[in-house]
């Protein structure tokens, strides 16, 4: 096998691998994004329900804080997997900062929770749209596959160097 054939073979494998990986990754990210949005909706709906039932505010605050932490940790994982920030974890502070123990009316508290959660979800959907739909395909490809590309190039370099070395030693 000549060098050009070997190179073409490697490039072909690489292309098929990246294509397959891209398709799988994109569908996985879409699924994770939808699950995150559902979780934000579910937890905020729980909080609204508890406020309307007039459950003890201290307990609602504590439990809601725990639920927001779960969302934040999941968001960290998704951002890391996607390779960009669908949503900055710190933006969840707007939900954490709602005064559930204060003297505001139930309607105001419910409105604040709904408003902040809607902002977060819109931001997630917009970031997803920007990253996967509006961004230039090459830039998007680089962002999501840069580690694999760098790894493949390094491997190619090592294999090429090794083959050259063997060729040199054994003539």
């Amino acid at each position: 096998m000549s060098w050009s054939q070997f190179f073409a073979l490697v490039v072909g494998w690489l292309y098929l691998y990246l294509l397959n990986n891209r398709t799988l990754k994109r569908s996985e990210i879409s699924r994770l994004k939808d699950r995150l949005v559902d979780k934000i909706n579910t937890e905020c709906a729980w909080c609204i329900n508890e406020i309307q039932k007039e459950s003890p505010s201290n307990q609602i605050e504590q439990i809601f804080s725990g639920k927001l932490t779960q969302i934040e940790l999941r968001l960290n994982q998704i951002n890391h997997y996607v390779g960009c920030e669908l949503l900055k974890e710190r933006m969840l502070f707007k939900l954490r900062d709602i005064d559930l123990l204060g003297s505001d009316s139930v309607e105001n508290k419910v409105h604040m929770i709904y408003s902040e959660s809607a902002d977060l979800i819109e931001h997630i959907e917009h970031s997803y749209d920007v990253h996967f739909v509006s961004t230039n395909i090459l830039l998007r490809f680089w962002i999501s596959c840069r580690l694999e590309i760098l790894g493949a190039l390094t491997a190619l370099l090592i294999v090429t160097a090794l083959l050259n070395l063997i060729n040199f030693i054994f003539g």
């Binding site: 201290n58 804080s65 725990g66 940790l73 933006m91 502070f93 900062d97 123990l101």
Partner: protein, 115 residues
């Protein structure tokens, strides 16, 4: 306690030095309330050290009321000024960064109320 040059810096771990499950604002909420943390640990540390760093790592469910009473209360109740707090106090949580932002917001709100 650490010494950075001639500056005395104290690091407080909430879960190790105070309570493993901080909760609530006032003593009626329990031993882990924000008022106890502020009055018994944080405010005295700020008075006797040049810098204080609060490490919130180890517990991930801090309520807004605990954070507001513990940190915002430094200005409202314990007599510290906004400038003192901004120059002497730092805080961090290794895992849940939005908690740091809530503390920022509570301190800023207390400064605004005080002015």
């Amino acid at each position: 306690m650490e010494y950075q040059g001639l500056i005395e810096m104290k690091t407080i771990s909430v879960v190790k030095d105070f309570n493993t499950k901080p909760y609530g604002r006032y003593p009626r909420d329990g031993d882990g309330c924000g008022q106890f943390f502020r009055d018994n640990i944080l405010a005295p540390a700020l008075r006797t050290n040049d810098r204080v760093h609060v490490d919130l790592t180890g517990y991930n469910r801090y309520g807004r009321s605990f954070l507001d009473e513990a940190f915002g209360g430094l200005i409202r109740e314990s007599g510290f000024s906004g400038e003192q707090i901004k120059s002497k106090l730092t805080y961090s949580h290794d895992l849940v960064k939005s908690i740091e932002d809530v503390i920022d917001e509570r301190i800023n709100a207390a400064i605004e109320d005080a002015s």
